[in-house]
Symmetry: C2
Subunit: 252 residues, 2 copies
DNA sequence: GCGATAAATTGATCTGCGTCAATGCACGCG
DNA sequence: CGCGTGCATTGACGCAGATCAATTTATCGC
């Protein structure tokens, strides 16, 4: 535990379940998102101040309004982020996967809630540890800014979707972005080849993400099935038969 | 022009209309937003690499999809930021005022357009200048991250509004946030006192911001008038007669 | 494999907001 | 001062998507 190869200065004692540098090297998020900004040498420092925690499917680990004690980086699994109104209406603001960070806060309390969609492994930093990481690695803070700017671009696209797109366009936009997530155009042997993947969220989650009802999401899926653009082997497993047609329906 | 008091190293020659350090000191945004992160001594550096530019009302100065050559900080006036679909549907993602920054980009092209709502003065940095500012003042980059995180919180609130609020709740939310902008609770003699201010945007802009039509915005305003919660001296000048009632209608 | 349970789908109906159209109102200009 | 132009408001009507309800399908424990 103590023999991490590259410790510049002591910050805190190693928490009991802290990952070793080895663990960081093997981490699913090693070359995605934030950690990609660090060299193999520097990654050891991170291992000193990070705690590895896991969450069972369904577990809520960030509560809107509670003190923002921790900062997280997703190592494995999928997470649902949302805001709620007092009467229970819910808006899911994003589905986060491996390499995404969560929990930065200026106000001192979380502005959103987060739940595990499936079994999730997280890299956890407490507030003070995070500050020491920033102090030691300005590259991390710069990378974080870069990521935040990118999140902002995605948020603006989602506002366009929620404010101005039709139900069918919303569903098509969702399918399109998840097709891209699972099979980037650059990686596809033929750009128009069908792609099959699993959706970690249910129809209600999808509705709360797209500003619709579960019924309307289902009807839109059915229409796309009827038109031969997609197919479902089961409600979780979607086959995008005509990715380019779906992309054309997103309206930008 | 050349005798700015605090130059650490030469970066570029001074552009012809660069503000002097004096100008930075007198700037409307000196103690708002980004520049607030700098000391009086350090602000001179900024003056070396910044250009002061002004835009007439209605002028578009950022075009979605064009190369992100510049970064802006608003010194005076109001700006409308939006994204569009190919068929002309528009979503305004924000109305920015003094001290707001605009134009950070990761991809190299702007993800949104921006127009002056009234006569606007901007502090402009080109890409390379901005990088030199970051290198010289890590505090600016840290502050930028803080601001970006805050923007993200606001964006998530807007997604909640667009996805899940009724027309009346959307309009009330807008009035509430602009009441807060013009007369923060902390500054008000009595928290429930009426507040009057000017709206720099028209009903169509408002509709494109709230995901509604101008007619629905107008009808919602009329209902709030009928209920005695607001009044209009003219379509631009709103009096919020019962700020606490309006706040209660935003539903969070 | 077989029932129990929850989720997804489909159908019927309703409604909030959009659409279309007319009127009101303010400001600028000859 | 009156007229024209553009925005805001108000009214009448229609429809996309919500709501309510029934049916089908997937999953899981036994």
């Amino acid at each position: 535990m103590r023999d991490v190869p590259y410790v510049r200065r002591p910050i805190t004692t190693n928490p009991p379940n802290s990952p070793t540098a080895r663990q960081c090297h093997d981490c699913g998020a090693r070359h995605i998102g934030l950690c990609d900004a660090l060299s193999d040498d520097d990654i050891g420092f991170l291992a000193r101040v990070a705690q590895s925690v896991s969450m069972p499917a369904g577990k809520s680990f960030i509560e809107e309004g509670s003190p923002s004690a921790y900062f997280y980086d997703i190592n494995l699994g999928d997470v649902r982020v949302h805001k709620s109104l007092p009467d229970g209406r819910r808006q899911i603001t994003g589905f986060m996967g491996i390499g995404h960070f969560l929990g930065l806060s200026v106000s001192g309390t979380y502005a959103f809630s987060a739940e595990a969609l499936n079994d999730v492994q997280l890299c956890r930093f407490d507030r003070s540890s995070l500050l020491s990481v920033f102090a030691e690695f300005p590259a991390i803070e710069a990378k974080l800014l870069e990521v935040a700017v990118h999140e902002m671009v995605i948020a603006q696209e989602q506002m366009l979707l929620l404010g101005r797109k039709t139900a069918l366009e919303r569903v098509a936009s969702f399918i399109d972005s998840w097709t891209e997530r699972h099979a980037p155009l650059s990686n596809r042997p033929r750009s128009y080849a069908p792609v099959t993947f699993l959706l970690p969220m249910n129809r209600t989650d999808l509705a709360d993400y797209l500003g619709l009802t579960p019924e309307t999401v289902s009807r839109s899926f059915s229409q796309l099935k009827r038109d031969g653009l997609i197919n479902f082997n089961n409600p979780q497993e979607i086959s995008v038969l005509q990715p380019h047609h779906i992309a054309a329906m997103t309206c930008g």
